[in-house]
Subunit: 295 residues, 2 copies
């Protein structure tokens, strides 16, 4: 008796990638420029290597050039800064991404701040976040995951203005910018976090829920107002003996309960995940367009 519409991030992301591919080829035809994304990977984390590989593949699939610098785990901060500085100055690179986490001997803030704001396609620079928070200012880039969440709401025709929205989680990369984006679109936003005393009661008031917590199945059916729209950012491995890998991925939302109460919900996987990479491509395209004053 599931009644919620499934918000199909995978297919929306595919559509967006097709749109981007068309724009990229138009740009190449019209001014002979191909957008370029540079990724800096430090160390040998397997998951990070996978993410970087996926990003490169996604670039290829839409015709964006990808560049990579892979530095050893024991590199100095200065070596990373040098790599960034090279890409900052390289006119064929329009977006720069430092794959996190960095080795623990490096100060993340120093490294991220070194990316020139015009190429900061992650949108994590504080100047960018400040513009996102301020009325009348425009960020250069909207951080990819929260941008993907809002894009899903838009593409599924979910009205945001005047609605109650609850964002669960307030990280710099997902929860906080997601709340700012909903607020820019005139939702009435409440932010729930680990110090919130009655998360269930507050969440139950929401017409729109965006959850970015990292707790498998935390949000139960009883937390959800009938008819609410749910965007589940969480990606959490849980043990599963029936799966060949021994685990499977679930969101922050208890999907089986939620899909009976919500009017629409993103699955995990196949919801927000594919949108994040699509938004990275979109930000890289925007950066290239901006560099040439297009559109």
């Amino acid at each position: 008796d599931a009644s919620a519409k499934v918000i199909d991030g995978k297919s929306v992301a595919k559509q967006i990638r097709e749109e981007i591919a068309a724009e990229v080829s138009r740009m190449k035809d019209e001014i002979g420029v191909v957008p370029g994304l540079a990724v800096i990977l430090v160390g040998d984390r397997k998951d990070s290597a996978t993410y970087v590989r996926n990003k490169k593949k996604a670039c290829e699939s839409v015709g964006i050039n990808s560049f990579e610098v892979h530095l050893p785990e024991d590199s100095s901060e200065q070596e990373v800064l040098n790599a960034i500085s090279g890409f900052n100055d390289d006119p064929s690179v329009h977006g720069i991404l430092v794959q996190l986490p960095l080795p623990s001997h490096m100060k993340e803030q120093n490294i991220l701040n070194a990316v020139t704001i015009e190429k900061d396609v992650d949108g994590f620079h504080p100047l960018n976040i400040g513009r996102l928070a301020m009325r009348g200012r425009e960020p250069l880039f909207v951080p990819c995951t929260p941008k993907g969440c809002i894009e899903l709401l838009h593409r599924y025709g979910v009205e945001i203005k005047g609605k109650r929205a609850v964002v669960i989680g307030r990280s710099n990369i997902v929860g906080m910018p997601a709340a700012l984006l909903l607020q820019r679109e005139d939702a009435t936003v409440s932010i729930v976090h680990s110090r919130t005393k009655n998360p269930e009661e507050i969440t139950r008031q929401a017409d729109i829920i965006i959850s970015a917590v990292g707790q498998p199945n935390m949000v139960r059916g009883s937390w959800i107002k009938p008819g609410a729209v749910i965007i589940d950012v969480g990606i959490n491995p849980v043990e599963d003996a029936t799966s060949p890998r021994g685990y499977r991925l679930v969101g922050d939302i208890c999907y089986e309960e939620a899909c009976k109460i919500a009017s629409a919900i993103t699955p995990v996987p196949g919801g927000v995940g594919p949108m994040t990479i699509a938004m990275l491509l979109s930000n890289t395209l925007s950066a290239a367009k901006r560099a040439y004053n297009l559109q």
Copy 2:
């Protein structure tokens, strides 16, 4: 039958000014430096002239040097930028303030962005707002009015962590940064604005209300949870034939009703107003200390 404690901004501000005066004189004794605040006033608005005069007087009262440039209404943007640039380079100036509003032929954003971030004692620079929004980052300056609100909560021993807070209004200079500050202190924050559909219902859930709307007596007794703490930023003139000026100032909160329900409330005037100037002095002192690596 008023039972709410009055949060006496006037007396707290006085105490803070005494603390600042002591610090200023210690600084002068120890390193021979006197903090300096520069104010740029453009045009002949009477209210702006009054604000600037009050700020200069407040500086004098604590031993901070004040500098002023007063430019005519028909100045060019470039002339204002030149004045800012002069103060940016002047080592005896530690804080720079551009009195708003500017004449309509100037672009506020261009002018405010010209103030070097180390001297932006208003804290309105987007880089600063971004740092305020981000966990693990520290703003150089916290905007004066919201800083004054939180300081009142602190000095009256109001616990913020884990409490429900509602901020009514989301302007760049008051509401939005106030919400970010409450969030930094682990309140669960909701932001109410002109597009919010059920402001009364949401506000009634708050343990702490900060209102910065500009609507006289908008928040009625029925909006308030018994025992809530109320910070009323609003300063609204209402007609009053019994007053010699023909009007008097009231807040956004209907004080007569609120004081019977809240546990503590700021009066208008004499609440947040005096705190704003005290925080400007505090930010100027911090700027000077930072310039000399003190404390």
